[in-house]
């Protein structure tokens, strides 16, 4: 117990200093950007100063906020729908050999279609509202999760399956007691990818056709040569993706604690 406690403290300690270093790195980059641009002859409408991006953020706070919520809703909606369907399908595919041979190849086939090419079709079918963007965000987060969860569910140690066989475990017990826990680290790895890609999907969807959202704001700011607003929008999009990423990381910490400890 004692040994463990000290190592845990050491770990949090080093994590805190890692954070400090990372934040310091970003700050140095921003300061260097600001200083270099003051010296070099770069037009401000091409690359605005960090300070003017912050100013724009404050000035356009209302506009930015009003356009952030639609993107958050679309990204979250797509994240939930896409991953939910992916996990369900992964379980079905691993459960049934027939589905593996029929559904999985179709899924792989669809994976080959570039998402940018699907986006206009979604807008055509589902209109300019939320649903088309949710569909795009869902599609984009779907495949990594499907592939990863299938991999996780089938990564189970062969001897572990023999062990459950010795206890005459049913197929659903094998899934619940062994396959599912084994797949959890794989699922969370995929969910982390899906956080950023679902924001990407929502923004791409907004480019194709929308009157609101951060993607719409990107197009608007570009058309009007408002570089500071464009960069401010980018910054907000990044924050949205990072917050989602952080939430998934926190959930992973709660649900797959054993995985960290076994490795650690």
């Amino acid at each position: 117990m004692i040994a463990r406690d000290t190592s845990a403290t050491a770990r949090t300690g080093s994590r805190a200093s890692e954070w400090t270093v990372s934040v310091a790195g970003i700050l140095v980059l921003l300061v260097a950007w600001q200083l270099l641009e003051s010296v070099l002859p770069i037009p401000r409408y091409i690359l605005p100063l960090p300070t003017s991006i912050v100013q724009s953020m404050v000035r356009n706070a209302g506009l930015l906020l009003a356009n952030t919520w639609p993107t958050v809703i679309e990204a979250l909606g797509g994240f939930v729908v896409g991953n939910w369907v992916a996990v369900g399908l992964a379980v079905m595919i691993v459960w049934s050999k027939t589905l593996e041979r029929t559904v999985y190849p179709i899924a792989i086939l669809f994976r080959g279609i570039p998402i940018i090419a699907i986006a206009p079709i979604m807008v055509l079918w589902l209109g300019n509202g939320y649903s088309s963007k949710i569909a795009i965000a869902a599609l984009i987060s779907f495949f990594p999760t499907l592939v990863n969860v299938i991999k996780g569910l089938t990564s189970v140690d062969h001897q572990a399956l023999e062990l459950l066989d010795m206890f005459s475990a049913s197929k659903s017990q094998v899934f619940r007691l062994v396959r599912w826990p084994y797949a959890m680290p794989y699922l969370f790895a995929a969910l982390k990818i899906a956080t950023t890609s679902s924001v990407l999907g929502a923004i791409v969807g907004e480019w194709i056709g929308s009157e609101q959202g951060l993607g719409y704001l990107v197009i608007l700011a570009t058309d009007q040569y408002r570089a500071s607003l464009l960069f401010a929008t980018l910054a907000i999009s990044t924050v949205v993706a990072l917050v989602l990423f952080g939430l998934v990381g926190a959930a992973e910490h709660v649900f797959v604690r054993w995985h960290e400890e076994t490795r650690g």
């Binding site: 463990r4 140690d157 001897q159 572990a160 023999e162 062990l163 459950l164 066989d165 010795m166 206890f167 005459s168 475990a169 017990q173 007691l177 062994v178 826990p181 054993w258 995985h259 400890e261 076994t262």
Partner: protein, 257 residues
Amino acid sequence: MESVIALDAVTMEFRAGRDGRRLVLDRVTFDARAGEFVSIIGPSGCGKSTLLRIVASLLQPTAGSVRVLGKPPEEAKAQRRVGFVFQDSLLFPWRTVLENVWLPFEIGHQLSAQTRQRAVQLLEMVGLGGFEHEYPYKLSGGMRQRAAIVRALCLNPQILLMDEPFGAIDELTRERLHLELLDICRLENVTTLFVTHSIPEAVFLSDRVVVMHTSPGRVAGVIDVDLPRPRDNNVRFAAPFQGLAFAVKNLLSEGAS
């Protein structure tokens, strides 16, 4: 005495390559009587683990007959009369030691105060009292394997099948585990089939040692170990033990040429 495990001309072929077949076990015949401790020793690839899996009904032989407790092995397994201890302890890292040990009860919908008590008692018997609520990563290799043995025993099986369970454990711990295992087998009154590639381990534990040769896997001979029980670690240094170990070694090396 009646045979608890009886193998008659058990043959196993695996498909190898496109249409090749590989003979893994060639007409293996031997038996184990009630309460007996039988070791199977042989070089890697002699099919000893395959043989254990056939007795456990995890694999079906290509030919030959297997009877476990006078029944087909799948029946013995379905009635949960057979415990299996693997090379790896296979304790699930997301479950505590106790939760791992009562897994068979959970699967059989038998979790009750009584069965929990059985799991705790068995853990105490192997010296794991106080570790019930720890996670496996905190246990040493020897402790994990003890927990794995307890998990195999908690359903009161009549047969215990062990597949090189101490292969990855240091020698001093292994010798202590040998003594504990002999105690457990006597107390729980099980018939044990123990796969190993260690000659001293086979001789120390067993009533009989089945020596196997490879390519294809076959029984080279069976050596009776008539050392008195209970055995302690001093037995290992006495002449009769050395003689038996030498006999096993000679029989093994006949097939190595």
